[in-house]
Symmetry: C2
Subunit: 391 residues, 2 copies
């Protein structure tokens, strides 16, 4: 049977995650892999989880096993609302933060509609945007050279701008954090275009140094859909996230979500609610941040030790990644097979750019790799880079 | 801010579930409600769940809390494959059976594409179909009056037929089961049109009498996407289902699902895998079926006792529903407010028909209502119907 003639027009635009494809083909656990974006297993609250399920069953009974409200169970919505100081009516629980990205795109974008994004940017978001055949453009192309500010000089006919996508805190992949000024500039552009901002914020709770900057939602609550995630502060195996946003937008997300999966996982939501309201989440977060801070500092010191001159990297104040810029002569996609064969993996940075440029960059993850593999891994990588520079 | 101008073209086609809207407005637990489609809480394996999470953590460790493969964790895929006698490569785990419907529609349907469905049919499926702006048509309109067989007399230009949607076992809402002949007829039509069949099968394991009929997937594996669900044989709070289908179709579903939610809930998948492979699922299923069989028999006997002459109902061999047909003079939508005010709820049958016809029908659920409410509820309902007939 020829299935291809039956596929929808979206299908040719589906984009495989290069990261997931790497995982599919190679057993990265056997080598020194900085490729994944996974949290460290040591940060998972295994001890809490020995008692949490029993407590949930005792406290909530079979309600925790039944279908739940599409918006999320009230107990979790209330806990999220209280933590972030917003009304419950502005909280929608999602079946993962990835679903948050997907459903927001679904309610806002027709094929050809324009999404503006900072770069480098999250691959999973690009997958969603492309799957709806949106016209994704780098926001930097709207920066006016003479004035240095973001401005749209509207071409005729004006395209259908729909939203700006940003990861203001500890960007995946760059690890960088937007300053208040940069955030205000994003808000100003969104206001000028009268469009929405999708603020993807899965790492915000993971700050290891520096000071919090106000969220974009706080600067422009009327036009921001703020996406949060339990994957980095509880465990990704629960697939839970949330959207905080204007009620009128959440109402359409709610109706759409009925058709997507009826409701987020209910048992998991009660686990998360109990984890959060009991104070266990904050206690675990202290440990998680200490663990990641140490790993970040270790990675930075190892980069200083092993990388040849001419290699630069970002200094992340939080999150899970840093971003390397190598001398122009090095192509990290081309170098990947050599690295893999020698026992080290990374993600080429050009995957995170719309036009596939920046081929001399790479993303390194410091949260997932076993700590004792960091030094041999970066030593290997430094050697490979140095070898190429000396050719 | 005016959000409406930003919405995608799909949004006006989003359809609210009348059932979920009923739940949103009225506390049905206070009355005799036959409206929901929920499993009975007594069928949930609460005792097993006291030890399952601990066993999963011990056996699988932090793997059970980490991100997982997009296709589902291998242990669960293998367990499903073994249970239904298919290769693992033909199994995709979904974040609920509803997601299965949604993602199949997504990869197959453009706006205006034709989906054929039997009627009455599942509301959640119609929500997904309409959200993609498919042209959903009743398959009965293709039955040739003179020959009595399903046939397409293709109009010119031929529309883009994409798939046939059926719930062959214990249909929601009708409770009816398709005969082998009827299934073969569906397959013949699908083969004639060279399209796919979406076989929605959440109730198949819940048979209380009669004999199994082969699935449509068994009759036409090359063109069937078979949807299964853990919601009725484990617990709906876990939001887990599966798709069994041809690998070439699953491959597109896999890529699409990366963007939808990366992977199904991992911890829940291990719970389900452990529940299934340990034999606890089958043990619990015996109890579940005994419970529902008794409830079905009770409902049928109460209908015989309390319904006035001229009322007919289906006799479900499994599942959770039966379908009432009242005398033509009664409009169940119009009657609903009276019923609710007197303390009984149902779902009007016309919601399950594409054209809103069959206004003299209703769906009654026998799985969820407290058993002691069945008699007062059906007595009330019988009285209301009788009152209207005697006006």
């Amino acid at each position: 049977m020829n299935y291809r003639r039956l596929f929808s027009s979206d299908v040719p635009s589906f984009m495989r995650s290069p990261v997931r494809e790497i995982f599919r083909k190679v057993d990265l656990s056997a080598i020194c892999s900085f490729a994944g974006g996974y949290p460290a297993a040591v940060t998972f609250p295994v001890e809490d989880l020995k008692t949490l399920p029993g407590r949930v069953l005792e406290k909530y009974g079979t309600k925790a096993l039944q279908y739940g409200a599409t918006q999320g169970v009230p107990e979790l919505r209330e806990a999220i609302a209280a933590r972030y100081g917003v009304p419950v009516s502005q909280v929608q629980v999602t079946t993962s933060s990835q679903q948050g990205i997907d459903v927001c795109t679904r309610i806002l974008c027709d094929p050809g509609d324009v999404i503006l994004t900072t770069e480098p940017t999250y691959l999973g978001a690009l997958q969603s945007f492309k799957a709806y055949r949106a016209d994704v453009r780098p926001i930097s192309s709207y920066r006016q050279p003479e004035k240095g500010v973001l401005r749209i000089d509207a071409p005729e006919p004006k395209p259908h701008y729909k939203f700006i996508y940003v990861i203001p805190d500890f960007n995946n992949p760059s690890g960088e954090t937007m300053t208040l000024e940069e955030r205000k500039e994003i808000v100003a552009l969104a206001r000028e275009l009268d469009i929405v901002i999708l603020e993807d914020s899965p790492y915000r709770e993971l700050r290891y140094s520096g000071e919090d900057v106000p969220t974009i939602r706080e600067l422009a609550p009327e036009r921001t859909l703020h996406l949060g995630s339990f994957s980095k502060i509880f465990a990704p195996g629960f697939r839970l996230g949330w959207i905080i946003g204007p009620e009128e937008l959440l109402e359409q997300i709610y109706v759409c979500k009925q058709a997507l999966d009826l409701c987020p996982p209910v048992f998991d939501q009660y686990l998360a609610a109990e984890f959060l309201t009991s104070g266990a989440l904050d206690a675990n977060l202290v440990k998680t941040k200490a663990e990641y801070r140490r790993r970040r500092d270790l990675m930075v010191s190892l980069l200083e030790k092993y990388m040849p001159e001419g290699v630069k990297w970002t200094y992340p104040e939080g999150g899970m990644f840093l971003f390397l810029t190598l001398p122009e002569s090095i192509d990290t996609i081309e170098m990947y097979d050599e690295a893999l064969s020698k026992g080290v993996a990374y993600v080429a940075g050009s995957f995170f750019f719309l036009d596939g440029s920046h081929r001399n960059t790479m993303r390194l993850n410091f949260s997932f790799i076993a700590e004792e593999k960091m030094e041999p891994g970066l030593k290997l990588l430094g050697g490979i880079v140095a070898g190429r520079l000396n050719r």
